[in-house]
C-alpha cells in the first residue's frame, strides 16, 4: 500500500492514492471537445462580451433590480404619455397587419430632460416624469449618463415590448371601444387556422448537413430549425436513414432549443461509404417526421429534399429514443 502522492499542489488531502494510477489516467484520458464546438462557444462568448454591459454605478447585485425598475418606470411613463397625447387612439401603433396609414408617433417627439446618474432605482411613484426622457434620448442619440445608458438598453427592449405584448391588452380594449372592423379579426383567425392546418412551423426542418471523417465512420453535423416551445414541443432527434428506410444513426437531443434557433448538433460515427446515398431528417416530439430533409452522400454532398409521405415512419418507434427532456 502506498501513501497518496499528490500530483498537483491542490491535492493536499491525505488520501490513499497511487501516483502511478494518476499517471495512467492522464495518459489514457485525452478526450477533448470537437473543434466546431470550441468555435461555437467562443463565438457565443465574443458575442456576449460585445453586448452593452448592464453594470454601472448600480452594477453587480443591483443590476437586476435596477433594470427591472427601469422597465417599470419606462413602461408606466410611456403608457401615460401615450394616453395623454392620444396615441392609443391610433391602433396601427400595434397592429401593422391592419395596413392602415400609420400616424405620427407622439412618444418619439416628446421633449427631453436629462436623467440624473444617481437616480435611485426604486421609487416608481416618480416614474412618469423620468421615463419620458430616456426613451427620447435613446432615439435621438443624445449622450447619456452610465445609468441612463443602462436604462436605455432596457428602453430599447421596452420600445419593442410596448408595441406588442405589454401594451396589447390596453390597446385591445381601446380597439374594442372603437369597434374595430370585425372582418380584420376574421382575417386573422382564418390566417391562424390556415397556418395550423398546413402544419407550418411545427415540423423540425434540416437546414444544413456537413460530413467529415473517414469511410465507415463519418461524423455528421446537422443544422436544424424547429419551433421549440419547451419539452411540450421540440425537435427531439435527427437521424441518418438509408434509401431503403433503415436507421443508420440517430442523435437524440437532450432538450428543447427555444433560445437557440436554428441550432447545429453533430454525431456519429455513421457507418457508410463515400458513395452511400442517405437521408438526413429530424423528428419533432409532437408531429414526428414530415419536415424538410437532406439527401446525398459524403462524396457528392447533401441537398435539400422531401422524402415521400410516410417514408420509414416506423423508425419513430425504434431505439434509441429520448430518455426524457431536460428542459
Amino acid at each position: 500500500m502506498t501513501t497518496h502522492k499528490p500530483t498537483d499542489t491542490q491535492h493536499d488531502d491525505p488520501l490513499p492514492g497511487d501516483a502511478e494510477m494518476v499517471r495512467l489516467y492522464r495518459a489514457a484520458a485525452k478526450d477533448v471537445p470537437p473543434a466546431e464546438l470550441d468555435a461555437k462557444i467562443l463565438v457565443e462568448a465574443q458575442h456576449a462580451a460585445a453586448k452593452p454591459k448592464a453594470r454601472g454605478p448600480f452594477g453587480g447585485h443591483w443590476a437586476i433590480p435596477l433594470s427591472t425598475a427601469a422597465v417599470i418606470v419606462l413602461s408606466v411613463g410611456v403608457v401615460l404619455l401615450l394616453s395623454q397625447q392620444g396615441a392609443l387612439n391610433h391602433r396601427d401603433e400595434i397592429t401593422p397587419l391592419l395596413s392602415e396609414a400609420p400616424p405620427q408617433s407622439p412618444a418619439r417627439s416628446a421633449p427631453t430632460a436629462p436623467l440624473a446618474p444617481s437616480e435611485p432605482a426604486l421609487p416608481a411613484a416618480k416614474a412618469p416624469a423620468k421615463a419620458k426622457p430616456v426613451l427620447s434620448e435613446t432615439a435621438q442619440g443624445v449622450a447619456a449618463s452610465p445609468a441612463a445608458l443602462s436604462a436605455a438598453a432596457e428602453a430599447k427592449k421596452t420600445e419593442r415590448t410596448m408595441t406588442a405584448p405589454a401594451a396589447a391588452p390596453m390597446l385591445r380594449e381601446r380597439m374594442a371601444e372603437e369597434r374595430v372592423n370585425t372582418t380584420r379579426d376574421d382575417f386573422r383567425t382564418q390566417g391562424k387556422l390556415a397556418k395550423e392546418a398546413i402544419g407550418m412551423g411545427v415540423t423540425a426542418d434540416v437546414i444544413a448537413v456537413q460530413v467529415s471523417g473517414e469511410p465507415g465512420a463519418y461524423q455528421f453535423s446537422v443544422g436544424i430549425r424547429s419551433r421549440d416551445l419547451g419539452c411540450a414541443q421540440y425537435a427531439d432527434w435527427w437521424e441518418v436513414v438509408s434509401k431503403d428506410g433503415k436507421l443508420l444513426y440517430r442523435r437524440v437531443l437532450l432538450h428543447s432549443h427555444v433560445d437557440e434557433q436554428p441550432f447545429t448538433r453533430s454525431g456519429g460515427p455513421v457507418p457508410i461509404q463515400p458513395d452511400t446515398v442517405v437521408w438526413v431528417r429530424a423528428h419533432m416530439n409532437t408531429v414526428g417526421y414530415g419536415g424538410i430533409a437532406f439527401m446525398g452522400s459524403p462524396k457528392t454532398g447533401f441537398i435539400q429534399a422531401m422524402p415521400g409521405a410516410g417514408f420509414a415512419a416506423d423508425l419513430a418507434k425504434q431505439t434509441p429514443l429520448p430518455n426524457g427532456c431536460d428542459f
Binding site: 491535492h11 497511487d18 478526450d31 471537445p33 470537437p34 464546438l37 462557444i41 457565443e44 453594470r55
Partner: protein, 188 residues
C-alpha cells in the same frame, strides 16, 4: 493577454468585456470539464450537449460573477448541477449512488500498483484502457469524486462544496473510488 493569469482574474476581465480572457479560460478548462462530463454521462453526444450548456450558462451569468470563490469551484458547480438536472429529468432519475453511502466493505490492503509498473508502452496503454473501463464501472457519485479530483484539481473541501455534501461524504466517495480502481487494476 497574460495567459498565465489566475482564473479569477481572467473571469473578471471577461465579465468586463474582454473576450480574449474568456478564450484563455476556455482553453485552460475545456479538456478537464469535457472529460468530467464525458465520463459521467457515457456518450460523446450527451457530453457535448451538457458541455455547451455549462459554458453558455457561464457566459450568461458572467455579469453576476464575483471572485469570492475559486473559479473552478464555480465552473464545476454549474457542471454538477447541469448533470444532476439531466439525471433528474431522465426516466432513470438521479443515480442511487448519490443518495446512498457506500455499503460494500472496503478492502484497503491491495497490491501496490507502483510495484507492478508496466514494462513497456504497450502494457501501459493496455493498463490505461483498463483503468478507463474501471472508472466507467464506478458508481456515479464515486466516479464524480475521482474525476473532480483528477480533472479539475479540486480539494476534498471543494469537491464537497461542488457536489453539495459534507467533507466526510466526499472523502468516503473518493476513498472508495480509488480503492476499487486499484483493485481492478491489480486483478489478473
Amino acid at each position: 493577454m497574460n495567459n498565465a493569469a489566475p482564473d479569477e482574474e481572467l473571469m473578471n476581465r471577461y465579465r468586463d468585456g474582454d473576450a480574449r480572457a474568456f478564450e484563455a479560460l476556455y482553453t485552460r478548462h475545456k479538456g478537464p470539464l469535457y472529460r468530467y462530463l464525458l465520463r459521467q454521462c457515457g456518450t460523446a453526444a450527451l457530453a457535448e450537449e451538457l458541455f455547451q450548456d455549462v459554458w453558455f450558462k457561464l457566459i450568461r451569468a458572467r455579469e453576476r460573477y464575483e471572485a469570492r470563490a475559486k473559479f473552478t469551484t464555480w465552473l464545476y458547480t454549474l457542471a454538477h448541477h447541469r448533470l444532476i438536472d439531466h439525471y433528474r429529468r431522465a426516466r432513470t432519475g438521479v443515480p442511487i449512488s448519490y443518495n446512498d453511502d457506500p455499503d460494500e466493505p472496503l478492502i484497503e490492503q491491495v497490491a501496490d500498483l507502483e510495484a507492478r509498473e508496466p514494462d513497456n508502452e504497450l502494457d501501459r496503454r493496455r493498463l490505461g484502457q483498463r483503468l478507463l473501463a474501471q472508472i466507467a464501472a464506478l458508481p456515479e457519485a464515486q466516479r464524480e469524486a475521482f474525476l473532480l479530483r483528477e480533472e479539475s484539481g479540486l480539494s476534498l473541501e471543494e469537491i464537497a462544496k461542488v457536489t453539495g455534501v459534507n467533507a466526510e461524504t466526499a472523502k468516503s466517495r473518493l476513498r472508495y473510488a480509488l480503492t476499487k480502481l486499484r483493485q481492478g487494476l491489480t486483478k489478473d
